[in-house]
Each structure stands twice: as C-alpha cells, then as structure tokens.
C-alpha cells in the first residue's frame, strides 16, 4: 500500500490535471481534425469527396438556374474522418482545427459549409463549363506554360480539337 501512497501524494501536490475549459484554454494540437473548410476557387467538381463521404454529408448539385454548382456539407453529419481531404486532388477541401460545433436547435439545418462554383464560358464556343483550377494544373504539369494556360479556358471538346 505504501508504494501507492507515494504516488497519491505526488499527484495531490501536482494539483488538478483537468483543463478549465470552457472558461479557459484547452489543449488543441496543430492538425486536430475539426470542422471542414471548403475553397470553391480550387474545386474542380470531380465529386470524389461526395463519393467517399461515409455519412453522406457532402452534396454537389447544379443550381436551379443552371449557372453553376453548389457545394454543401452538413457539419452535423460529418464524421471528421478526413477521407474527403485525402482524396481531394486539389486540396480544395480541408479539415480545420476549429472544433466548436455548438449551435442553436433552430439552426440545425442551416449549420452547413457552403460554396458556389460559377460556370465559365468556353473561350471558343461559349459552352458553360466548370472552371479549371490552377491547383489542378499544378498537379498535372510540372510547369504551367502559356500554351497550357490557354487550354485552361477551353471546354473539353474545343480542347480536343485544338490538341489534334
């Protein structure tokens, strides 16, 4: 018994080991998997995040007036597993260190992360298309030169014609 008594006294002298949260700071390491942040500018609408999302928290849908795509993520359905971030080719979606998810009951269905990808028109035939993010070009090419930069503003069909 005496062996434990020593430990107990030592623990007593150390004082409480709990954090005073929510009245004070608490341990939040860098890299904590918290609420998702979405960057519409880097998104290429490949829908891989929607495909891998275990809870079905992510939806990418065309808006009613067909002017672009809307990205919605329900924070309440998200499991913070980080698969979307792992499989996102341009890292348009990432998990932040923000773990605060308390909100009012009436905001339950509005507690979402939203983004809008506006279609751009093809520089040659004016067909609406999802803009090609610079981040995707950086993944695909070592160096983005002027020729590739021009291709970026063409729809897949025009791109094919130009390339041939």
């Amino acid at each position: 018994m005496s062996s434990f008594l020593k430990i107990a006294i030592r623990n007593l002298l150390k004082g409480p080991s709990t954090d005073p949260y929510p009245f004070g700071e608490t341990f939040v390491p860098k890299g904590l998997r918290g609420k998702v942040k979405y960057n519409a500018k880097a998104c290429v609408a490949c829908r891989m995040c929607e495909h891998v999302c275990a809870g079905g928290a992510i939806q990418i849908r065309e808006v009613a007036d067909k002017s672009g795509l809307e990205f919605i993520l329900w924070h309440n359905t998200c499991a913070f597993c980080g698969l979307c971030e792992h499989y996102c080719p341009t890292k348009a979606i990432r998990l932040t260190e923000d773990y605060h998810t308390a909100h009012r009951q009436e905001d339950k269905y509005r507690y979402v992360e939203k983004g809008f990808i506006k279609y751009v028109n093809c520089a040659r035939c004016a067909t609406p298309m999802v803009p090609i993010a610079l981040e995707l070009l950086n993944v695909a090419y070592d160096q983005v030169n002027e020729d590739i930069e021009k291709l970026r503003h063409l729809c897949p069909k025009c791109r094919q014609e130009r390339a041939l």
Binding site: S3, F4, V52, A54
Partner: protein
C-alpha cells in the same frame, strides 16, 4: 444451502457495455452461467453492403472505440489482398505505429477499469491520467483522441515529420517510468493481489479447447499472437517479444496486458528508428476486381479476422468479421463457477469484453 438465480446486467455499473448474465448461485458461490447478448446490435454488416469501399473505411472504424484502428486496418488488408495492391514500406511501418499506440490506450483503459472494480479508485484515476499521455499523443499525431483515421486503401493518410517523430519519442519515454510503477502495483500490491490472484481460473487445456485469443490466451500460457505467428504489415521486420503468463487467473491477464503496453512502446521505438523514407500511400485510385479474401490482425483483445467478397463493383458483396470477444466470452463458463458473486464483474472485465464489436 439454497440455490437461486440472480440477474447481472444488461446495464451493470461495473461494465461499460450492456450484456445480460443469468447467474446461478449457491449461497455466495457461482455454480452456473447463462450469457445473453444482442442489446447493441446496429446492423453494421448490412450497412457495410450499402456503402462503397471508401465509405466502409470510416464505417468499420466506428465499430468500436478502443480497437478502432484495427478494424479499418484489417479491412484494408483484405481489400489489398483482393486487388493485389502493394503498400509502400513507409506506410506499413506507420500502420504498425498507429496500431501499437491504440493498443497502449486500450490496455491502460482495461487495467484502469480493473482497479475501479476492485474498489481501488485512486489507482484507477492514476492509470487514466497516465493514459492521457497516450491520448494527447494520438490527438497531436492523428488529430483525434479515439478515431485515428490512419488507414486508407493502399497505405496510410498521415505522415510523420522529424518534429513529430521527436515528439513521439519524448512521449513514449515519458510513459516508461509511470508504467513501471503501476506494473509493480498490479503485481505486488497486497490489496490488488488479494482480489485478483486465483480468481477466474482458465486452465491451459480449457483455453485451447475454447480457442480463446489475445491476452486471455496468453494469460493461460497459450501463445497465439498473430503478430508473431503470421506477421502482417511491418511486423516481420521488427522484433516482437510475446508476453506469456502461466497464472491462468485475472492477475495473469492483467499482467499480460501491462507487459503488452511495455512491448508496444518498444515496437513503436523500433519502428521510429527504422522508419524508411518514401511514399506513405499508393498514388492512384485502386480498381477492385471480383474476389474474396481473409485478413487477420492482432487487436488489443486478440485475433481479429475479416472476410471480404467483392463482385467487381465498388460495393462489397459480403463483409464479415470475427472479433476476439466472440471467442473469449464463451470461456466465462469456465472462469465463473466456483467464484464469489462479488468477483463476477471482475472476471467479466478480465476478458476485456467489447460488446459493440461483437454485436455490431
């Protein structure tokens, strides 16, 4: 002396999960036992068939909180077997590190609960505080205290920078001394010995007959550690010392778990030292052909087996797992009779039952 039946559970103060025992007693002594399970069935095998291979990584991780890394790990291994994917070497080592760190946290939790059940609550608090070192490590390296989300198809999702390796070495070193102290208490403290020694005996031949796995088997002198008997991931490249005790009682099983923690620290340090450079994961999206595979790993509670059948689509055709507790809880029929009523929760805890895994 009169014989009567007492109910223990389904909700019992000493157990974390619901399970119902009908115990026949003669006076204060247990003579028979009836186990009824099925209170937390969530239909997860069926859910897995309605989700694609990626979504199932996250689903299997949520089977159980304490061995949450082993489920996606073993599931991914089965998938990789079917598709013939070769995991990069660094990925294999990182998988082992994730697995061992979960083993430390799981075993500390169980040994802590043991102290709580025998009424030694100050020891319970102390063990849980030591466990906080591991919890902080997990939160810093993986971003969550329980669900590491380390595994993915063809590797791992996390990487260790030099800074993080240093941090991990520091954390592991800071665990060693307090761990030695508590191992000494569990082995030599008079109060702990009085409650655990000679309680819940599972003789070696019965352990073999019931096919028990993990620390329950190793506490009865049976060595069937999957990490050594059929190595997976990077376990064939590192030295694993298996701890076997011959006490066959609650005390032996607790000591095996504590020694396993010390061995896990040793394994993590070996891995960090040998950690090769290179990619952590395959850099393409895998194509899964039709086929079937079995994969197994050593979870904190013992051998975990996954069976997976695919049909060429990205939804599995069948996913089934056999968890260690399924093998271990039958052995309670041997451990219980002859013991006192007050030892019932203690003996149940000594098999470290994971009901959420078993009933899924």
């Amino acid at each position: 002396m009169s014989t009567y039946t007492i109910p223990v559970g389904p909700l019992h103060v000493a157990l974390e999960e619901p399970m119902y025992f009908r115990v026949q007693v003669e006076g204060e002594t247990v003579v028979g036992l009836d186990i009824t399970a099925g209170f937390v069935h969530r239909g997860m095998e069926s859910l897995a068939l309605q989700r694609n291979i990626y979504q199932n990584i996250t689903l299997t991780e949520r089977l159980c909180s304490l061995c949450s890394n082993n489920h996606p790990f073993t599931y991914c291994m089965a998938l990789e077997k079917i598709a013939g994917i070769k995991v990069p070497e660094r990925g294999e080592y990182l998988r082992v590190i994730a697995d061992e760190i979960k083993r430390i946290a799981s075993n500390l939790f169980n040994t802590g609960i043991l102290a709580h059940i025998i009424g030694f609550d100050s020891l319970f608090m102390h063990v849980m505080e030591i466990r906080e070192i591991v919890q902080d490590t997990k939160e810093t390296i993986y971003g969550n205290r329980m669900d590491l989300a380390a595994n993915t198809i063809g590797g791992v999702k996390y990487n260790l920078s030099n800074e993080k390796i240093k941090y991990m070495i520091k954390q592991m070193d800071s665990l060693k001394k307090p761990l030695e102290e508590i191992v000494d208490i569990y082995m030599n403290n008079k109060l702990v010995r009085a409650r655990t020694e000679g309680v819940g005996i599972l003789p070696k031949e019965e352990a073999i007959r019931y096919g028990v796995v993990g620390p329950v088997a190793r506490g009865s002198g049976v060595n069937n550690d999957v990490r050594v008997k059929s190595p997976y991931a990077a376990y064939d490249k590192i030295k694993v010392n298996v701890n076997v005790e011959t006490g066959c009682d609650v005390r032996a099983r607790a000591i095996v778990r504590l020694r396993d923690i010390q061995e896990a620290i040793n394994i993590i340090q070996q891995c960090l030292k040998k950690l090769p450079d290179g990619p952590t994961c395959i850099d393409y999206l895998p194509e899964i052909p039709a086929g079937e595979a079995v994969a197994k790993s050593e979870a904190p509670r013992g051998e975990l087996i996954y069976y997976l059948r695919t049909n060429g689509s990205d939804m599995p055709e069948r996913l089934k797992w056999r968890v260690p507790t399924y093998m271990n809880w039958e052995a309670l029929n041997v451990m219980m009779p002859g013991n006192k009523v007050s030892d019932i929760p203690l003996i149940i805890t000594s098999i470290d039952p994971c009901i959420s895994c078993t009933e899924r």
